[in-house]
């Protein structure tokens, strides 16, 4: 697959949002769609979410994450959408210039008419909640542990304590139990469950894994590897209650303490972020404040069901495609002006072809070197002359005007680029 230099729509991220956006963009009628994905396969985080609960809304079926992804992966393959895998997008500009690097295609620079940001989110870290204690091996965010267990094929520990009753934490509690580990406790700082009730029943209650609300980790114990967690109860003001500390022996602490939309690239592109969601400000078309840059999925705000992510992806992809189509038309209506022989610059740089229907169009320029002899100033479409003007001399200090007459309308319609040059008569 050869990468094109310019695409209609580039989608960054091939998780559920990105896949949906790319598919819908192609179906809306654009030619060139590319998905850039940093993993070595499509599907995003769904590939490690091997539990079910996906597709209940869209497919009326209860599917595991990878199966849900497979549906869209197959559909994408059938639509001749370009993919660049194992590729990290380094930078995106507000003019939608994309820089990415991949082991297989090297350093790539691409242009696109419309861009879809679908980078998803990252997990809140131990450091961000400033958990006191030592820094041994055995402290993982739930997602990283999930990757090890389900994709890399290794267990990160034998005895677990999980901080956070979010869905990822509860799902992992069950997953680890299924693979023979012992989950000692789930601690939740809030006075209520933060994940779905069905997960509480099917992941914790079913396996007699105790949940303690209004509890948190006071500190991590262990020098090289986690040896225990000191838990503590907290009061209404989220302050630890002295005397309620408990040392829970374990070798792994899993953190399920929140997801944060991953908007580093969005920032680089000049996209404004809402400090409340940590995602871009978007309108009803899922367009950000930067024209032609759209966003969908967890990168905008953290969703609960993937089915809604897919819907947002469809909406976004459709709008991005429509933007790209309008761009193509708009661009086809414009002709670039180029400085030719002995011309330093020409203004305007770009001309709307339709403008000649209304009136002649004036070009202004300066020459590079003086010619103290009669010259032609010529506007050329390749070898075809569009118009010319006689001048007795040209000097860099004196601006030169030339008008493209309305009679040149047809000639200009044929051109994508016009150059202006000065030649001796």
């Amino acid at each position: 697959m050869m990468l094109k230099e310019k695409y209609d729509v580039i989608v960054i991220g091939a998780g559920p949002a990105g896949l949906a956006a790319a598919i819908e963009a192609k179906k809306t009628g654009v030619q060139d769609v590319l998905v850039i994905e940093r993993a070595q396969e499509l599907g995003g985080i769904l590939q490690q979410c091997i539990h079910n609960g996906f597709g209940l809304q869209i497919f009326k079926k209860d599917m595991p994450g990878p199966a849900y992804a497979q549906h869209f992966i197959d559909e994408l393959a059938g639509l001749h959408i370009d993919t660049l895998l194992d590729a990290m997008t380094l930078n995106v500009t507000s003019e939608r210039h994309v820089y990415a690097t991949s082991r297989w295609s090297g350093f790539v620079e691409l242009d696109t008419r419309a861009l879809v940001l679908a980078m998803g989110c990252r997990e809140r870290t131990r450091a961000q909640i400033a958990l006191p204690g030592t820094r041994p091996a055995g402290v993982y965010t739930a997602g990283t542990a999930q990757r090890f267990v389900n994709i890399e094929g290794f267990m990160p520990g034998k005895r677990f304590v999980i901080l956070g009753s979010g869905d990822i934490g509860m799902i992992m509690a069950r997953r680890l139990t299924f693979e023979g580990a012992k989950v000692e406790r789930v601690l939740e700082i809030m006075p209520f469950l933060t994940g779905l009730t069905r997960n509480y029943v099917q992941c914790l209650l079913d396996y007699d894994i105790p949940l303690q609300l209004q509890h948190t980790v006071k500190r991590i114990i262990g020098n090289d590897r986690v040896e225990a967690i000191e838990s503590v109860q907290i009061d209404e003001q989220r302050q630890p209650i002295p005397g309620t500390e408990e040392t829970i022996p374990c070798d792994t602490l899993l953190l399920s303490v929140g997801l944060i939309p991953e908007n580093e690239l969005s920032r680089k592109a000049g996209v404004s972020l809402d400090p409340v969601t940590a995602g871009p400000f978007v309108d009803e078309k899922m367009q950000t404040n930067v024209p032609g840059i759209f966003a969908a999925g967890n990168v905008v705000h953290v969703y609960d069901l993937v089915d809604w992510v897919t819907q947002a992806g469809f909406l976004c992809g459709r709008n991005a495609a429509q933007y790209a189509i309008a761009e193509r038309k708009h661009h086809g209506r414009r002709v670039k002006m180029k400085a030719g022989d002995n011309v330093r610059y020409v203004v305007p740089h770009v001309l709307d072809k339709e403008s000649l229907a209304e009136s002649a169009q004036r070009l202004q320029m300066r020459v590079t070197l003086p010619i103290e002899e009669p010259v032609w100033v010529e506007v050329m479409n390749g070898e075809e002359r569009v118009t010319r003007k006689a001048e007795l001399y040209v000097r860099p200090g004196e601006m030169v005007n030339i008008d493209i007459p309305q009679s040149a309308y047809d000639a200009v319609q044929r051109a994508s680029e016009l150059s202006v040059r000065v030649v001796r008569r």
């Binding site: 091997i50 990878p66 009730t197 509480y200 079913d206």
Partner: protein, 127 residues
């Protein structure tokens, strides 16, 4: 007959009603806390034939990943979950694996098939 109280959380819909069930022997005598009659069906199911969907992974030989995710085509009896996991643990599939491949047919005689959740392509030499 002695009465016994048992608590359930219904998961039929996201509401998650907390059900307070008074049992008389094996039968449900009274139920409180349900917002609709599906709560009664849920408790009946949980008492007589609790079932769960099970998802896990299975080893793969020669694939781009070491493991393939698998799932039960329909819910299996809850008491048999760990037996099922032990059965799956014994298996090693040969790549390529295709989404929907039957990994175990009629697992443990429950009538439920275990299927592959996704494609796992064979590992090519150039990768």
């Amino acid at each position: 007959m002695t009465q016994e109280h048992r608590k359930f959380i219904c998961i039929t819909c996201p509401r998650g009603c907390a059900l307070d069930v008074t049992m008389e022997g094996e039968a449900v005598f009274k139920m409180e806390g349900n917002s609709c009659k599906r709560g009664i069906d849920y408790v009946t199911g949980e008492l007589n034939d609790p079932r769960r969907m099970v998802t896990t992974t299975v080893r793969v030989r020669g694939g781009v990943h070491l493991l393939a995710p698998v799932y039960t085509e329909s819910p299996i009896p809850k008491p048999r979950i760990f037996d099922l996991l032990a059965e799956i643990r014994k298996i090693e599939l040969q790549a390529p694996v295709k989404f929907g491949d039957v990994v175990i047919e009629n697992a443990l005689g429950t009538g439920v098939n275990i299927l592959a959740s996704r494609n796992i392509p064979a590992k090519s030499e150039a990768s």
